[in-house]
Symmetry: C2
Subunit: 86 residues, 2 copies
């Protein structure tokens, strides 16, 4: 069992109204010191087998075609818990 995480964030040049809303709420709640907030999505994909390079390539295709909108979003793919083989 292995978990691959796809993080999808709005591109830097794209407005992020959700992040701005959080940014506006922080001082009202008494929090200071944050200079910027961006909000994106996180997908946790579980795989039964081992996460090979072929699996990661497939995850990148999922990220590009289904999980993100490449026009306005960037994504990163990371393996969170790789299967340990004895």
């Amino acid at each position: 069992m292995a978990r691959v995480v796809v993080a999808v964030m709005p591109k830097p040049e794209i407005l992020d109204p959700q992040g701005k809303a959080v940014m506006g709420a922080l001082p009202r709640l008494g929090f200071a010191g944050v200079s910027d907030v961006r909000q994106g999505k996180r997908f946790e994909l579980e795989f039964e087998g081992e996460v090979t390079d072929a699996v990661l390539d497939e995850v990148r295709q999922m990220a590009e075609t289904l999980l993100s909108n490449p026009v306005i979003e960037n994504y990163t793919v990371t393996v969170e818990s790789a299967e340990v083989r004895a």
Copy 2:
């Protein structure tokens, strides 16, 4: 400049319709091998100064009061790019 990431995911016992929708779409798009998908949120908070333990405590408070709903969601706080001091 340092970045702290707050990842907010639905608790395991909570239904996740967005994740289920992704899970249902994957085979239709020709992707196989994924046994489960969960969808959550990712917040990137930028700080001007150093990320001290006090800052991380404050981020945990933000996560509990504003960024997540502790009844149905779990969160994790990670420092992504700590400021390097010469």
